[in-house]
Symmetry: none
Subunit: 115 residues, 2 copies
DNA sequence: CAGTTAGCTAACCAATCGGTTAGATAGTGG
DNA sequence: CCACTATCTAACCGATTGGTTAGCTAACTG
């Protein structure tokens, strides 16, 4: 059973090395060697991480001479972001986020629906 | 090396079963048996998932007779949410391509500090 | 051309993950 | 006390993960 896109995205960014790579790519394209520089692991290890990121659609690769520059593709993050956001009314404790406020207004307005 | 909290949170919610459990807990507390009901896996498998969620601080457990009710603890999600949010500017527009273009123009224009 | 550089694949390894079954533990209720 | 219910632990298993080294391909460079 192949995993859904949200699972793919979340497990890709669950690794700190891969998160650091994505953060680095916010500054713009980078080659594999450039991406590998800050880490103490081998280039093939970075290649594997890049493959995971590419498999999740979080980066795309170009071609420039013998370089294969990586570019950030943030679109899949949106779905993961939206999933987590559903829980925003449960942190901060007191429903003081806009979402929670709106929900309370709605349920106060309609016929006494839920608790 | 123990993983940081964000990695812990993200890998906990990278699993669809665990995400479904958290969604269920938005409706309120539930026992292990109740949480296990929608799934085709054994109770011990669910126990393991709950242990992962508890280890990430995403649920807390109570005690009520022989029941060990689970309660949603959404606070750790906020950090993960905040991390992803940093990328929001890259997913709504085609801003990232413009950004990359601008950067390439800049580095072509400025001192060739590359590679 | 030969040599160097960038990147990839293959094979291997230990550790972790996600599930199982079997059995232990603890609380409830006749 | 006995039986039942709910939950957890232990031991095991196959698949996946995250890393390694060795060796390959492709493109630039002198």
């Amino acid at each position: 059973m192949q995993p859904d896109q949200v699972s793919l995205t979340l497990s890709a960014i669950a690794d700190p090395t891969r998160r650091a790579i994505l953060v680095r790519l916010m500054d713009g394209e980078a080659s594999v060697k450039e991406l590998a520089a800050p880490f103490e692991m081998s280039i093939p290890a970075i290649c594997k991480h890049l493959k995971v990121l590419e498999g999740a659609g979080l980066i795309s690769r170009g071609r420039n001479a013998q370089l294969r520059p990586c570019r950030l593709e943030a679109a899949p993050l949106r779905e993961a972001f939206d999933w987590i956001e559903e829980f925003s009314k449960f942190w901060d404790g007191s429903l003081n986020r806009l979402d929670g406020l709106l929900e309370r207004l709605q349920s106060a307005d309609g016929s006494g629906k839920k608790n």
